[in-house]
């Protein structure tokens, strides 16, 4: 029988005490746990540092020298830049399989506009960047407005862009020496400077700056929070007042722009403009993202993690080659190490939970 006294009025008398459980924050291990929770990128960083130390111990100064360590940075710069773009897209629950193709066609356009049509190199670069942004925006439009699955959109776009790239460039390479003579601006991302044995290029600096800027934007601007919200639960985000479409289109367009920058950096790295470059960028960038701890299901992870993820692969590759593994064994061992890196990552998260 539903009875009723005026029981609800009692609550007025309730104490306003806030639940406070025994503080568990004193011990070092607890601080560590807390740090892991607030800074998820710490986990791949730990894996990275461990990998560097192990290879350093095993290989000595061959590996543990400013030269070798900065060489890794140079080797991962393209993947690192592209992976930053990939991270943005994956954070929104998407995936971008056209990143490599966009990078390449942008570099080809920069080169061909400067050489085939004789446009000023600065303008050619701008055209390349604009093209990359446009392709990205088209991806975004198809995903956001037409509601097509990102995998399919970017897979189709990858084929289209790559084929267009070959058709347009007629598979012609523009040689490093010609570029150096006539349009050195195209190679500027390859410009080097040394700091006590450590060799940096502008491309490396660009990568690091890019990651830092994106980390700031994702964490400290409304747009950044919207990117996470859209990836977390697009319907909830829409109901909560996020313009999901605009966010998606801007993410893909920005990813396109970043990939175009990667194309520019690619010219700096290989000297020449070659339409056959960058074929592995898709898989490599996604690998870096996932090793860096960003969920493929969107909404979780940080761009710093991606950066460390790219470095982890770079460290393994160079380390194994230095240790004398041949190409096939390196390939095999990197497979093992990719799994191991993520297993360690999971393990750290578990003991830290």
């Amino acid at each position: 029988m539903p009875s009723s006294d005026n029981y609800e009025s009692v609550v007025g008398k309730a104490s306003a005490e806030i639940a406070s459980f025994a503080g568990r924050d004193k011990r070092l291990i607890d601080r560590f746990h807390h740090a892991l929770h607030t800074t998820p990128a710490l986990v791949p960083l730990i894996v990275l540092v461990t990998a560097i130390i192990i290879f350093g111990l095993a290989l000595g100064t061959r590996f543990f020298s400013p030269f070798a360590l900065t060489l890794i940075l140079q080797q991962v710069q393209i993947v690192g830049i592209v992976a930053a773009a990939q991270s943005l897209v994956i954070l929104t629950k998407g995936i971008d399989l056209s990143v490599g193709a966009i990078a390449v066609i942008s570099s080809v356009v920069m080169g061909q506009f400067a050489f085939r049509y004789g446009l000023p190199p600065g303008f050619a670069v701008v055209c390349g960047l604009a093209l990359g942004t446009a392709i990205g925006a088209l991806n975004g439009w198809l995903v956001a407005q037409m509601k097509l699955p990102p995998f399919i959109v970017t897979l189709g776009m990858w084929q289209i862009v790559l084929a267009a790239n070959f058709l347009y460039s007629q598979n012609e390479t523009i040689r490093s020496q010609e570029i150096a003579e006539q349009a050195p601006l195209l190679q500027i991302m390859g410009a080097k400077f040394e700091v006590g044995g450590a060799v940096f290029t502008l491309g490396v600096v660009f990568m690091v700056l890019l990651v830092m800027v994106l980390a700031f934007v994702l964490k400290h601007t409304a747009w950044g929070r919207h990117v996470y919200a859209v990836g977390d639960d697009p319907e909830a985000a829409e109901l909560a007042g996020v313009d999901v479409k605009r966010t998606l289109i801007s993410v893909y367009a920005l990813a396109g722009l970043i990939c175009a920058f990667a194309g520019w950096a690619l010219i700096g790295r290989i000297g020449s403009v070659s339409p056959t470059s960058g074929q592995l960028l898709n898989i490599e960038s996604i690998t870096a993202v996932v090793i860096g701890g960003i969920s493929l299901f969107g909404g979780r992870g940080s761009i710093l993690g991606t950066f460390f993820g790219a470095l982890i692969v770079g460290v393994f590759t160079l380390g194994l080659r230095l240790a004398g593994a041949d190409a096939q064994w390196t390939f095999l061992l990197i497979g093992v190490l990719i799994i191991a890196a993520v297993a360690v990552d999971q393990w750290i998260r578990k003991v830290a939970a």
Binding site: R62, F63, F67, A68, L71, Q74, Q75, I78, F166, Q170, N171, E172, T173, R175, S176, Q177, K192, V199, L266, R269, I270, G271, S272, S274, P275, T276, S277, G278, Q279, L280, T317, L318, R321, L322, G324, D326, A327, Q328, F331
Partner: protein
């Protein structure tokens, strides 16, 4: 003459300038002879299934002849047999099938010879230093396709290194070999592979590269540590940018092949087959039609025949 005759060109990929030029050669010749040419290509190196599908398409399309650069020289054989059974003339370009007589004829470069020439040249160019050279080989990819093996092993043989198993890269024990790495045949891969090997041993002074883009990438790596002038880079292909690089000293020597010649010869053979059923015949003393290979360098050495870059430029493709 060849009205209503159609032919197919199937290349490994059509992203490599080598195959692009091959297609241009074939297209030009086909136009001249009034043959309809359809061209097909795999998506990536080693993409064998697309080639099988292309052969099947050619059969369905009623082609008279097929020009084929096989990605997988023995796996393609049943498909080729099917085409030949359907009365189609099949000519292997660039890469011989396994067995070589699975095709009606092969118009090819001898890739082993191409490798051997640059090997011999490198050894002669180093002179006495060859005995304590530090060699790096920059190969194609981990699946070690036939061209890759032939060029690599040809180079090592030419340089005077014991091959162990001539079908496998990397089983040699000669201490002069620092190591090998894979490049995917492009600049980026070339640079990365060179950097890796230089980190392993910075005293490398001879570099074999699978093709000229890889060589260009390797050169960038060498340049970045200021060693571009004291390392000998050799390569294979003979594309115009490659020859230009030989001229400028980026590459020491390269073995030039002639894809347009292969293709146009192939189209002529198909025209002849369509007209009166004659099949082309092999070069004397070989079981294929050798379209030739020439060493291009501006630093000729004794005992190795070569042409200079001016001549190379006239003959170059791409």
């Amino acid at each position: 003459a060849g009205h209503g005759v159609s032919a197919c060109l199937i290349t490994k990929t059509d992203t490599n300038p080598f195959f692009v030029k091959m297609r241009e050669g074939a297209t030009a010749k086909a136009e001249e002879l009034g043959i309809t040419l359809n061209s097909y290509a795999g998506k990536i190196d080693g993409d064998h299934e697309t080639q099988v599908a292309a052969i099947e398409t050619c059969i369905a399309n009623g082609a008279k002849g097929i020009l084929l650069t096989a990605s997988d020289t023995s796996s393609i054989v049943p498909a080729v047999q099917q085409a030949r059974d359907a009365g189609i003339l099949v000519i292997a370009l660039d890469t011989p099938l396994d067995p070589i007589d699975a095709a009606d004829m092969t118009f090819a470069t001898d890739n082993f010879l191409a490798g051997q020439l640059i090997g011999q040249w490198a050894r002669a160019a180093l002179g006495d230093d060859a005995a304590n050279a530090k060699i790096a080989t920059l190969d194609l990819n981990v699946s070690q396709p036939t061209v890759d093996v032939l060029r690599n092993q040809g180079f090592l043989q030419g340089f005077g290194i014991d091959l162990a198993d001539p079908n496998v890269i990397g089983d040699e024990t000669d201490p002069r070999l620092v190591g090998s790495d894979v490049t995917d045949g492009n600049e980026e891969g070339g640079r990365r592979a060179m950097e890796n090997l230089l980190a392993k041993d910075p005293t490398i002074n001879v570099v074999h590269t699978i093709n000229e883009p890889a060589a260009a990438g390797a050169y960038e790596a060498l340049r970045s540590i200021g060693r571009e002038n004291d390392v000998l880079v050799v390569s294979v292909d003979g594309g115009c940018p490659g020859i230009q690089n030989v001229k400028e000293g980026v590459i020491g020597a390269t073995s030039q092949q002639y894809p347009m010649l292969m293709a146009s010869k192939g189209i002529e053979a198909i025209a002849a087959w369509a007209a009166d059923g004659t099949k082309p015949s092999a070069t004397d003393g070989k079981d294929f039609f050798d379209t030739g290979v020439a060493l291009v360098t501006d630093n000729p050495v004794d005992g190795v025949e070569s042409i200079d870059t001016t001549e190379g430029t006239n003959l170059c493709w791409g």
